[in-house]
Amino acid sequence: MVMATVKKILLVIAAFLLGTLILDRVLNLVLESFYEQCLVGQTGGKINYYLKKAKQPDVLIMGDSRAYYMLNPDSFKGKSGFNISHAGMDQCFQNGLMSILIHQKKMPAHVLLHIEPDFFMTSSQDKIISKGIQQLKFYYGTDPVVTEFLDELGPFESLKYQFKSYRFNGRVINTALNYFSTKVNPEATGNGFIPRPVTKLDSLHTEFTARNYPDGPMYFNTSATRYLLQFIRIAKENNIQVECFTSPVYYKRNIDFYKPACEYLDSLFSANQIKYIDYGRTNTSDARIRDPHFWEDSEHLNGAGAAIFSRQVASDFGY
């Protein structure tokens, strides 16, 4: 009697798992086909566009939203550029992305990397595991750096990828939206830079979002240094020249808050002979950058502000 029940339960569970696996494989095929056709958007679209359609540039801009929306490679005079920055992505993501581009032989010899000092400061002394790499889940199992970082997220991470469609976890709707956006305008990615539209509300938002610094103590985030060191090492091994910058902010940056990060970055870049300009500390020569009307919010310039800033970067770095 008990054995019959056990058998029945095991059969149902096995059938259920089999059904899930079949459905998983079918969904994976469908989603993969959609994903690979995306040429627009952050969920693979921008990377696909760069890999499949863009001419290899002289300079590749990598970073988060403060590089994505604020630096237009068309402002460069003597060099061609492509902005492959992704909003919200940390250094771990940049390492994974560089590894993918190197393996696909699409990495140019010169990178302009955006550095976010925020990533080097943390309110907790616990080890911080970077999660930006999840944006590159699609490359799990095919790129060694991406696979290594994804496996570090948890002891059973590799188990989850036994379900092939897990590579699209959290990205199904975006993939579908990007697929349809690609059908409408496959060239929308352009040079990778997308300006934030100028609106009447910009100055209001800028004042609204002026940031508060945390009350508690802040600690230097050693795990962030690991990713940056790895980025520099991989670049050196592949003869890629790295230059770095930090975008300006509208509010007055609290230097004390960032002091350990600033000191670390200055000494690291100096030791590795990497040019670095922190526009959060060094004001741009163009005073208009301090006008709230050129900002979408306190950390992102709008299109008009980005045009001014891009010219400044091109001039300072000699592009």
Partner: protein, 473 residues
């Protein structure tokens, strides 16, 4: 050990197989060891606190039962209550009281000599102390006989599915099941239990954790939000906490059911309620009935005139607020709910409304939902200033309709998963629970629904989501 982790999956499978493989007389040992391991996974030393309370309540209950006089019974009940409330107060309210003493000292120009406590709150403390108290009170009232088997009693307090976040079970229902412990492996129990666990997991990792990303991003900006953004984030928090907490309860009840144990329903689609009174009959039912049975009724309930009834409602909800946490925000949260309940009694709002057209029912439900959302602002904001900031944003007319979406992909995911939850809750679980759904649907319907849930969890689940909100209480 979090229910939404692979470690728990391995633990659950191992314990369940072990449970059925063992002879009934040994099962309590397995469950007790497993429950201890489950609890120690969070922070091992706090098991000692749990063991201390178990011993106090175990002996207190036996002495109460053996006591010849009412006075002696009362003394031992008081000892048990003081031990439970004392531990709860020490860990949970010491710093709160100390902060208020400090404020008072500062205003008087004195310095506060009492040091602050810098230790972690034992996980699930509010839940197991309330469960233990209900046991000794029931023994005192003569509703149950004390459990003389220390192992079985310890298991009643520590039963792993409901140890850290409820449901707060009663001795009258759970103890006899644990004592009997001869549940046979039944196909229906396994299917119903797994079904409930899967739906709970969907609520937690797909809906609650998606909503959390948006809510956190808005609430961390405090009053730097437009009106509709702050209101919308509060609506989303209402669903986040519902899915987080009821998801936990579903997994707990389901895990128990797979082993043949029946635990009480803790949530019954509360946001379809048409009054706050009805809401509290559908929300965290094990706590609301606890407060009703042991506090509201003890205060006199509605037997001492209408003004005393209103006062009793207020006091019960204020203490319910304090149960959640030691801060003025929780006191305000409880106070507002008390005002609503007393107000509905005062204006004779019917809990069971006569048959109404759909738009009227929807209107009442929407009004109730927004009244509850007002209380959630105090629950979610970490400080009183934070709550005031969110409320001032909501009522600030400047640029009111401008909704801050933050990340469009997170927003789209969140909205679509929330819509799916509402569809499931409205069309399936509004009139059926997990058991009736299993018994009334065809095999194809039942398996398709769960296959869909599993695929949704795979594609939309937030795998590195936060721990359950109610673990902190």
């Amino acid at each position: 050990m979090l229910f939404n982790s692979i470690v728990f999956l391995i633990f659950f499978i191992t314990v369940t197989i072990g449970y059925y493989a063992l002879a009934p007389r040994f099962r309590w040992i397995l469950l007790l060891v497993a429950s201890s391991y489950f609890y120690m996974y969070f922070y091992p030393p706090y098991l000692l606190i749990l063991l201390f309370l178990i011993l106090v309540d175990y002996f207190a209950a036996i002495v109460i039962d053996n006591a010849g006089t009412e006075k002696k019974k009362k003394i031992w009940l008081t000892i048990s209550l003081i031990a439970n409330i004392g531990i709860l107060a020490f860990f949970k309210y010491y710093n709160f009281l100390n902060e208020n003493v400090e404020e008072l000292c500062i205003s008087l120009g004195w310095s506060n000599p009492i040091p602050a406590l810098t230790i972690l709150l034992p996980i699930g403390l509010s839940f197991h102390t309330f469960q233990s108290m209900s046991y000794t009170i029931e023994v005192y009232r003569g509703n149950i006989k004390p459990e003389r088997h220390l192992g079985i009693y310890a298991l009643f307090v520590m039963f792993y599915p409901q140890l850290v976040a409820g449901p707060i079970e009663r001795g009258t229902t759970l103890l006899p099941q644990l004592k009997k412990n001869d549940n046979k492996l039944e196909y229906d129990n396994v299917m119903i239990g797994l079904s409930q666990m899967l739906y709970g997991l969907f609520k937690k990792v797909v809906v609650a954790d998606s909503l959390a990303m948006y809510v956190n991003s808005i609430y961390s900006y405090g009053n730097f939000n437009t009106g509709f953004t702050a209101l919308f984030a509060t609506w989303m928090f209402a669903f986040q906490i519902y899915c987080d907490f009821s998801g936990y309860s579903d997994i707990a009840i389901g895990a128990g059911r797979v082993m043949g144990y029946r635990m009480m329903t803790n949530f019954s689609i509360p946001y379809f309620s048409k009054s706050v009174t009805e809401f509290w009959r559908r929300w965290h039912i094990s706590l609301s009935t606890w407060l009703r049975d042991y506090l509201y009724f003890s205060l006199g309930g509605n037997r001492k005139g209408k003004w005393r009834t209103y006062l009793n409602n207020m006091l019960t909800m204020l203490l319910g607020g304090l149960w959640h946490g030691a801060s003025w925000n929780f006191v305000i949260w409880g106070g507002l709910n008390g005002v609503y309940l007393a107000g509905e009694k005062m204006f004779n709002v019917k809990v069971k409304k006569p048959i109404l057209p759909f738009w009227k029912k929807a209107g009442y439900a929407f009004l109730t939902f927004n009244l509850i959302c007002l209380t959630w602002v105090f629950f979610r904001a970490h400080t009183f200033e934070g709550a005031v900031g969110i409320l001032s944003s909501i009522f600030n007319p400047v640029d009111w309709l401008n909704l801050r979406i933050q990340d469009t992909s997170i927003f789209f995911n969140m909205i679509s998963m929330l819509a799916l939850l509402l569809v499931f809750d409205y069309f399936i679980f509004r009139k059926k629970n997990a058991e009736t759904f299993y018994r009334t649907s065809s095999r194809l319907q039942f398996s398709s629904f769960h296959l869909l849930l599993l695929i949704i969890i795979l594609l939309f689940g937030v795998s590195e989501g936060d721990q359950f909100i109610y673990f902190q209480f």
